[in-house]
Amino acid sequence: MLYTSEALQQLIEEFSKLPGIGRKSAQRLALYLLKQQREDVVRMAKAMVNLKDKIRPCSVCCNITEEDPCAICSSAKRDRSILCVVEEPNDVIALEKTNEFRGLYHVLGGSLSPLEGIGPDDLKVKELLLRIDGTVVEVILAMNPNVEGEATTIYLTRLLKPLGVAVSRLARGIPVGGDLEFADEATLTRALEGRISL
């Protein structure tokens, strides 16, 4: 055994399973916790367990929530005619921060990726189609700007268009705050392709 304590070794192993955490960082984190007060560590452990115990998917938008339906889906202030489709709960948080979008969301739970074994049946696509019931007039597809997001956009567009809703996608291009002058050539090319007529 490399460590003098099995408890320490176990925690290091758990930490190194986390994204972006190598063995060295895991060791540093574990030793840090060892030095903390017991109640602080208990509070942290409880927060982790709560994450699993209290959070469930919203039965409407499939976002994570403690109350079902979630606060956004049950809010009277949201515009029910516009639906923004995103890949992950993270994306909802990012879009909510802008304070610009007043419609509802739908969280797919990922994007199409045959290499990872993710097909249409593994995403919340059926749940999305069920929501197109006459109230929704526009669907914005806000997938990540990568090939998986793009394939997902094409797939959903083909399903949604025949249902009589307007379908749009986020423009791919210059990041806000980025000067045209400093945008790399590839980004500029994309931005030109994704130009919007006014």
Partner: protein, 383 residues
């Protein structure tokens, strides 16, 4: 561009190496296995964010080290100084590139900013190997000239892998609904059309560069090779006509994929697209890959690289850095002499060799052209 200095830390057998380069020819001399090629690999990381030789970043990490770093000082032809830092850590595995202290969000955004042309023994496969080697040659050149091409090529590769997975899964699990593959087909045709259009235009332009370069390095008079005329021809991986436009290319590729749908399902692989492109290399109309002599293979390979250099210099308005790894060892002195003459006219180069015999007595070593010796991963200016 001029690479004025590079610092290697824990890179291959270079625990801590600093080299200050001259603006002309830099001869790096040493026995095999001392670290000559490793130095060129490090320079390759600065220009292309990866080695031209090793399969993975882990392979170039010094044995037992946790990370390697490279720090390069570069002056553009316009006289602007830049610093490029490359860092790779083993655990968690990750690579980052910083330009002038600013970490780049995308590694690809560095490629082409500091153009390099590399000729190493492995590149022999460009003329003697299969079409994949020639596609790779074209990709490295075009990627450094047009960032949009590099983006398309990377995304094409990713979409192709995704699409092939659907097809190969289909072989094992039985038929799948066409809606499952259609989005990938549409994406693939869009990227594929753009790549094919660029490649066709490139080959059309590049032919003249190769002919000129070939002529400039032909052996001296007296040898019966002066009537040789090399040429390149692009054969698209799906049916197109000479007048097919960029948008037309995408339509053609989509049509080709549609017409081979059943065959694709039977074989479990994508059967049309630029991943099946070929560039035919010929000398006087005779196929190089199968019928050229040893001497012709070497000459046309060097010609391709000189052409690549000149093409990139014109397109980017920036002289690339020329890296020649052990190219003189198998050339007769006449040919080596000619190549050296051409190289002298090309700006900065780093050339590895076992000794300085290949350089003859005609190069004035000093401030403009420098010699270095490498032994056990230690590089010193030669006396």
């Amino acid at each position: 561009m001029i690479l004025s200095a590079i610092t290697l830390t824990n890179f291959r057998n270079h625990a801590a190496t600093v080299v200050k380069f001259a603006s002309g020819i830099n001869a790096v001399l040493g026995k095999n296995g001392q670290g000559k090629t490793n130095l060129l690999e490090a320079v390759s990381y600065v220009g292309l964010t990866k080695s031209f030789y090793a399969a993975s970043d882990r392979d170039v990490l010094c044995f037992g080290a946790e990370e390697f770093t490279l720090d390069a000082r570069i002056a553009s032809d316009a006289g602007v100084e830049h610093r490029v830092g490359v860092r790779y850590t083993r655990e968690p595995s990750g690579k980052s590139v910083a330009v002038d202290g600013l970490e780049q969000a995308r590694l690809a955004s560095v490629i082409g900013r500091f153009p390099v042309v590399i000729l190493s023994p492995e590149h022999g496969a460009i003329t003697s190997g299969g079409p994949a080697e020639r596609r790779k040659f074209m990709d490295v050149t075009l990627s450094q000239v047009a960032a949009a091409y590099l983006d398309d090529a990377m995304e094409y590769r990713r979409v192709l892998r995704q699409r092939n997975r659907i097809l190969s899964d289909g072989l094992q699990r039985g038929p799948f609904p066409s809606a499952v593959i259609e989005p990938w087909t549409e994406s693939l045709a869009r990227y594929g059309g753009r790549i094919a259009f660029r490649r066709r235009a490139f080959v059309e332009e590049f032919r003249a560069y190769v002919r000129d370069a070939y002529r400039s390095i032909l052996p001296l008079e007296g040898e019966a090779t002066d009537a040789e005329e090399p040429d390149l021809a692009y054969e698209c991986g799906f049916p197109v006509e000479a007048e097919t436009t960029a948008e037309g290319m995408t339509d053609r590729m989509a049509a080709a994929l549609a017409s081979r749908r059943l065959e694709e399902q039977r074989r479990g692989i994508t059967l049309a697209g630029p991943h099946r492109d070929e560039i035919h290399l010929t000398i006087n109309g005779v196929d190089v890959q199968h019928f050229a002599s040893q001497g012709q293979h070497k000459t046309i390979l060097v010609a391709l690289k000189i052409a690549e250099y000149r093409y990139m210099r014109e397109r980017r308005q920036e002289a690339p850095l020329l890296l020649l790894d052990d190219v003189f060892s198998e050339l007769d002195t006449g040919r080596a002499r000619r190549i050296l003459d051409v190289t002298l006219a090309m700006g900065q180069s780093i050339i590895t060799a076992t000794d300085d015999r290949a350089f003859g007595g005609s190069i004035g070593w000093g401030d403009k052209n420098r010699r270095f010796t490498i032994e056990h991963g230690t590089c010193r200016p030669a006396a």
